[in-house]
Amino acid sequence: MPFEVLVALRFLREGKIQTILILSGIGVGVAVIVFLSALIGGLQESLIERTLGTQAHIVVRAPEDLVRPVTESSPGLAVAPRVERPAQRLRSIVGWPQTLELLLTLPRVRAASPTVAGAAFALRGLANRSVALRGIEPSSFRRIIDMGPRMTAGEFRVDATNAVIGVELAADLGVSVGDKVRLETPAGRSEVFLVAGVFDVGNKDLNARWVFVSLRAAQTLLDLAGGISTIELKVAEIFDAERVAEEIVARTGLQADSWMKLNQQLLTGLRSQSASSWMIQFFVVVAVALGIASVLVVSVVQKSREIGILKAMGTRTVQVVRIFLVQGAVLGLGGSLLGSALGAGLSFFFASLARNPDGTATFPVNLTPALFLGAAAIATVTGLLAAVAPAERAASLDPGDVIRYG
């Protein structure tokens, strides 16, 4: 064992009460950090999970029709006094198979699925509901939103004239699996479908509006023969979505909207949550640092004789500095081990208090090895930095004074 470590550990061991007190202090601080991170991390993860469970990360569609106002009068052309946006009609992505292939070659894109989306009415007897028609290709769509586990009745089958609707819509129309439903578009095209399955995605609005049919059926209904209106994407890293979307816009000239853009509020919420959590953690770290520093400053005063003796015996200044830095680091590391255990216990306890009726945790606490390693690293570095001033003080002690005044 290096000389400095030997002396540092012995100083700590012999300063029993002081060491125990400061270790507890650091432990409580680290426990707060671990607990808070686990809690906020778990909350955010489940929020994101809930949001992205029913959403593609990026939706690519044809660019909107642009209005090209005539700004200069030229012979035979009148200048429009007012520019109005044209009504947006459903447009196909030109050359979409190539686009799809291109998107799939992007390194950060994990899955892509062509879809046709448009407005329609669902009719059954006298009941009539406005719905969002989604024509999909089941094999690739499964990798965007996995509907399998969200089925409450029947199965997710959208081939031929099979359709899958939400529980809310099924109730509104009074239909169940095996019943027929007519879908009609505002343009007047209509078709009868068989309800093959009923889903529940945990969102009342989507349960009332989404109707899944095959790509081909949607193309026919929406008069988009052979075309598709959107390509839905999943990326490897969800927070990369906006950057990937920008890249897609730049490379294809198409419109690409990331979940981050479509869920600004959620994102802002997550960010301010993170910010306040960082803030609390920062002050905890500061408090821990001050605690370590003050204990070491006191220890330098208490140990000034010992430091003098060590110096008289040939201990170099840098060795004295290291003795105190090691003490700071050991306190930080030891406290963080204690705090990690405490924080983990606290997290599990808290999670066990808030349970759903079915016994699962209301929100998961997110205890990852990275969290513990991070806490240990932060506490150790904090300890090390907090020890710098006391260490320099110890190093500057004059051995002559110490000897003379005993």
């Binding site: 064992m1 002396v7 004789r305 015996m313 201990t315 170099r316 060795q319 000897i403 003379r404």
Partner: protein, 232 residues
């Protein structure tokens, strides 16, 4: 005649910044190898101050201190520490040992500091020194569990562990009862002879002084007399 271990040339020492008081006035001194010297004088005459200068624990206000023929004036603190570790041993009146460590660890400490970690043979060397001072059975005792005399004997072993040519002792028996004091002094004399180590011992005890090779008497920051004992 052998080359002196330490030479002081016109060394003065002053304290204070506002009111400057000169405590040592132009000291010239040579310490020879294997010589056992007593430093006596009234309290406040500057003995400890002189010892601190000799031990490179403090710097003179003016004059030069040569250690093994080498001027120590320009040395940095770390260089002085290194020289101290190599060439000097200390035995102090107060706080003899590091209370956190055992007797054995205290004796090993100068070796650990010099080499940076425990190496082969260090433990054996420290043990054999403890044997020599008659405390081998106390090797694993905490320093604080030893009597004053025992602590001081361990301090002697510690001072000798790196085989320095010179050991400085500031009233090593001052805090001990007569019997322990005598034991410690006997030990100093014995190891001085056996290890061929020079000692400079500050003492108030006339009988102790009388048994040294050389007696330096300080009064008011000056060396009043420097006598060699005919018997030794």
């Amino acid at each position: 005649m052998a080359e002196p271990l330490v030479v002081l040339e016109g060394v003065t020492k002053s304290f204070g910044t506002e009111v400057v008081t000169e405590i040592l006035h132009g000291i010239d001194l040579e310490v020879l190898p294997s010589e056992f010297t007593a430093l006596v004088g009234p309290s406040g005459s500057g003995k400890s101050t002189l010892l601190n200068l000799l031990g490179l624990l403090d710097r003179p206000t003016s004059g030069r201190i040569l250690l093994a023929g080498r001027d120590t004036t320009g040395l940095t603190d770390d260089e002085r520490s290194a020289v101290r570790g190599r060439s000097l041993g200390f035995v102090f009146q107060f706080h003899h040992l590091l209370p956190e460590f055992t007797a054995l660890e205290n004796v090993m400490m100068p070796m650990l500091a010099a080499r940076g970690r425990e190496e082969k043979g260090m433990r054996e060397r420290a043990l054999s020194l403890l044997e020599e001072i008659g405390l081998a059975d106390r090797a694993l005792y905490k320093a604080t569990k030893l009597s004053g005399g025992q602590q001081q004997r361990v301090a002697v072993a510690r001072a000798l562990v790196l085989e320095p040519p010179l050991v400085l002792a500031d009233e090593p028996t001052g805090n001990l009862d007569t019997e322990s004091g005598k034991q410690v002094f006997e030990l100093l004399r014995k190891v001085s002879t056996e290890h061929r180590t020079a000692f400079l011992v500050v003492t108030h005890d006339e009988r102790i002084a009388a048994r040294c090779d050389r007696i330096l008497t300080m009064v008011d920051g000056r060396i009043r007399s420097d006598e060699r004992n005919a018997r030794a």
